[in-house]
């Protein structure tokens, strides 16, 4: 179909078309940028924490009676013994934190002893015993796990850091960026002067803070801490978690009256809570994009309907002069394509512009190359769908209208 006459007719009623084109442009701008954010957040949520999340839960024991250090140590041993002996429990460990928990302990590591400097590397710290690796479902890809003999109890009078560590590959890569493995046997320094010997490298264990840029960096430390507040992480056999969780809770609560058991939570719940902000943002933005598309479609329907009613007579004349129904439909479809093309071109430029601004102002990722073309095609289709109704109505205008005087 020759677009010339359509284009010239549009020029006679610029304002309406300019408004729709602008609307399409801004819609595309919002749509692709929102989609970029959705994609980024969805990617974040999809990350693996390293744990056997479906079969892991955690709980905390808070002592409120005045126990001596030795009593606290004995209680932890008792507790772990009780839990580990339960049928269906794969393993359990007492630790200060676990991935996705949003609170934990971090330390700076460096290759030479001395005060921390700009070159030191931060890592999350998990204090565990030799059961930590299995409970956290980490695989020692190089080197070995801690031996029972390497595990110590922390001493309030002695701040010396344990001399062994299991580190994630991501942490190793950042410590020695120019000197790739094997990392086993190397030494790093913590707490100014305390050496840590890397006994093994583990595949994956996230830090407790999902929003930290260094979330993949963590270190297992062979130490147990006899404090009033202890977290137990329990890994069960597949499908046993929901059954064992209340069992472990009451087991611990009943075994000692000088404490309370709290924060009983599955990893699934922990994950949900950790990412509630990201999940919410995805929902909000999806809804915004949907609503926006509907509004823009309504705008297109409105303008097209208005044009149909304004051109009723003209359409009648065209029909009288031999235009077929499909030709009338085509006229409106082509007209809409022209408006869409202009709007989408402006929108693509605006979208790139807004993305550059957002990347700089809000440290977002730049858009993937295909997002804008995909958005353009989607909006073009929406426009065609929106205009189809009014166009069909136009095609049903009877040719006899041409001879009627209004």
């Amino acid at each position: 179909m020759d677009t010339g006459p359509i284009w010239r007719a549009m020029l006679r009623n610029k304002a309406g078309f300019v408004l729709i084109a602008l609307q399409i442009a801004v819609t595309l701008t919002i749509m692709v940028n929102a989609f970029g954010i959705i994609q980024e957040r969805a990617g974040k949520i999809d990350r693996d924490s390293g744990l056997d999340e479906a079969n892991t839960f955690a709980l905390a024991s808070v002592l409120y009676a005045d126990y001596e250090r030795e009593q606290r140590m004995a209680l932890i041993d008792e507790d772990l013994d009780l839990i580990r002996r339960l049928p269906g429990v794969v393993n359990a460990v007492a630790s200060n934190s676990f991935p996705l928990r949003q609170g934990g302990w971090s330390m700076g590591l460096q290759l030479e002893p001395g005060n921390l400097g700009p070159e030191s590397v931060s890592t999350a710290i998990y204090f565990v015993d030799e059961h930590g690796a299995e409970t956290f479902d980490v695989e020692v890809v190089d080197g070995r796990n801690f031996t029972a003999g390497e595990i110590t109890w922390s001493d309030p009078e002695d701040n010396t850091w344990p001399a062994y560590g299991l580190i994630t590959g991501a942490l190793a890569d950042e410590l020695w960026p120019d000197d790739p493995g094997p990392y086993v046997g190397r030494t790093v320094f913590i707490n100014v002067t305390d050496p840590v010997n890397v006994v093994g490298v583990i595949d994956k264990l996230q830090a407790p803070w999902e929003s930290w840029s260094g979330v993949e960096k963590s270190m297992l430390v062979p130490q147990r801490r006899p404090s009033e507040f202890v977290r137990y992480i329990v890994r069960t056999e597949a499908g046993m978690r929901d059954e064992l969780m209340p069992e472990v809770e009451s087991l611990l609560a009943d075994s000692n009256e000088d404490r309370i058991i709290r924060d009983v939570t599955t990893m699934d719940e922990t994950r949900k809570l950790a990412y509630v902000g990201d999940a919410a943002l995805i929902k909000i933005l999806s809804f915004v994009v949907l609503l926006l598309t509907v509004i823009t479609a309504l705008g297109i329907v409105g303008l097209a309907s208005f044009n149909v009613s304004r051109r009723t007579r003209q359409i009648g004349i065209r029909r009288a002069l031999g235009a077929s129904r499909p030709a009338i439909v085509r006229y409106f479809m082509v007209e809409n394509s022209i408006v869409s093309a202009i709007g989408l071109a402006i929108g693509a430029a605006l979208a790139i512009g807004l993305n550059i601004v957002m990347v700089e102002a809000f440290s977002l990722e730049p858009l993937a190359w295909y997002v804008i073309p995909a958005g353009m095609i989607a909006l073009w289709l929406v426009g065609q769908a929106a205009v189809a109704g009014p166009a069909r109505r136009a095609s049903r205008i009877p040719p006899a209208l041409a001879t009627r005087q209004t």
């Binding site: 701008t29 400097g117 309030p156 919410a280 943002l281 915004v288 309504l298 440290s363 977002l364």
Partner: protein, 439 residues
């Protein structure tokens, strides 16, 4: 004449119900989206102590690592050490000074059937209540003597008093925490500062603590901090004593000063204090002390999440789309009614009168859109609450005040009038002569 225009506007709205409804809906949805985000942002950025903003100052001292600032480019730590907090409290050079930290205890309620529970509390020096204008329902806070005497006294929030004592006047009763009795001195009236400006670490939207006890008592009992603890080097000695003597920061410090000159004098005092400490081998970095008002401190700590900024930008664009939609619909209406406009012009209406007529009509659409927009905002906030289910503080962030309701209406009217400008201008340009040609 306004009533005449209003009558014409109503007639016109009634004559095009679908078009008018679409316009009202477009404005309402746009306003709803925008105001939802603006409201959340408004609550997050609210300064609950605005009325004392010019007199309260958060204290920062730079005791950090000589090789590496606490935060780039050269930010001092957000909190202070025990050494400095207690020294500055002791010096007493401000009108009031508060040092405090977040801790937790196991509360053992009276009665056999009540189970003990762990509760976050605030360990603070005595001036906290007077400095932050905390209202009391029963009794009062403690005094400096209680601080010095490391007395086991406590203040409860009204909610905690309801929970433990059914809301009755509990002053004088003994509250068991970790098997130690604390005498209740006072019960707070309703007090819900959001954000908790006095401690912006961790989540500042969870609301204030429910139990308050003297700082000195907490330290004597070796209570740990459950807030942020940061050290740039390990304590030289082990144990709680070693931690108190260390360069680790974990205490929030605020001072109240009478005016600008008081602030200058206190800043000088801090510099002198740090200079003196340098002689003892502490404070290896250059002088970098800060005094920030609550408002400044909230901005400094970026209390408003940047995601809110992204959403705000997108929601403004969203409103723009809705307005473009409205402009298009108004324009269609004007073009459809050019007969009427032309006729009125022929009958003697000048451009200004027509302009007023159409602006009044647009204003009416704007008011309707604004009122519907308040409803949309309410829905939007319920939506936000819904998708954030699980965050126990979310209900604090999704409440509309009258200021926001007013803003919604004003924004709607301004938007509608703005959207009406071009179509109205077009209406005014319709020639009176066309009325003769239409036959």
């Amino acid at each position: 004449m306004f009533r005449y225009y209003a009558k014409l506007g109503l007639l016109s709205i009634r004559a095009n119900p679908a078009l008018s409804a679409l316009m009202v809906a477009a404005i309402a949805i746009g306003i709803g989206a925008c105001m939802t985000i603006v409201t959340v942002r408004h609550v997050m950025a609210d300064n609950p102590i605005e009325h004392k903003n010019e007199r309260l100052f958060h204290v920062q001292l730079d005791n950090w690592n000589p090789n590496d600032p606490y935060d780039e480019p050269n930010e001092p730590p957000e909190q202070v050490t025990y050494l400095d907090a207690t020294a500055l409290l002791e010096a007493g050079r401000a009108q009031r000074q508060v040092i405090s930290f977040k801790s937790s205890r196991v509360i053992q309620p009276d009665g056999d059937e009540a189970r003990p529970f762990q509760e976050v509390l605030r360990a603070t020096s005595a001036d906290f209540f007077a400095m932050f204008d905390v209202p009391f329902r029963y009794g009062s806070g403690w005094d400096a003597a209680a601080d010095r005497g490391e007395e086991r006294v406590a203040v409860l929030s009204s909610a905690m008093n309801d929970r433990l004592y059914g809301g009755e006047d509990s002053t004088g009763r003994l509250l068991m925490m970790n098997n130690e009795p604390f005498r209740i001195l006072g019960v707070l009236d309703d007090w819900h500062p959001v954000p908790t400006f006095y401690d912006l670490n961790n989540n500042p939207f969870q609301g204030p603590e429910q139990i308050y006890a003297p700082f000195s008592t907490a330290v004597a009992g070796e209570w740990g901090s459950t807030g942020n603890n940061s050290c740039w080097k390990p304590p030289e000695e082990g144990g709680y004593e070693g931690y108190l003597a260390s360069e680790c920061v974990w205490i929030q410090m605020w001072v109240e000063l009478p005016d600008e000159s008081g602030k200058a004098a206190y800043a000088q005092f801090l510099d002198d204090y740090v200079t003196e400490q340098k002689q003892l081998g502490r404070f290896p970095r250059e002088l970098n002390n800060r005094l920030s008002t609550p408002g400044e401190w909230m901005i400094d700590r970026e209390v408003v999440d940047e995601t809110v900024g992204v959403l705000l930008a997108l929601s403004v664009l969203f409103l723009l789309v809705c307005l473009l939609n409205t402009i298009g619909l108004l324009l269609a209406k004007v073009i459809r009614r050019s007969n009427d406009i032309s006729l009125r012009r022929a009958l003697g209406a000048n451009r200004a009168e027509l302009f007023r007529q159409y602006i009044v009509e647009a204003g009416m659409i704007g008011v309707a859109g604004g009122l519907a927009g308040i409803g949309m905002t309410w829905l939007g906030l319920r939506g936000i609450e819904n998708v954030f289910a699980g965050y126990d503080f979310i209900e604090h962030l999704v409440t509309m005040d009258w200021q926001m309701v007013g803003l919604a209406v004003v924004l709607a009217i301004v938007s509608a009038l703005g959207a009406a400008l071009y179509p109205t201008w077009r209406a005014c340009r319709v020639s009176p002569a066309t009325t003769l040609r239409i036959q």
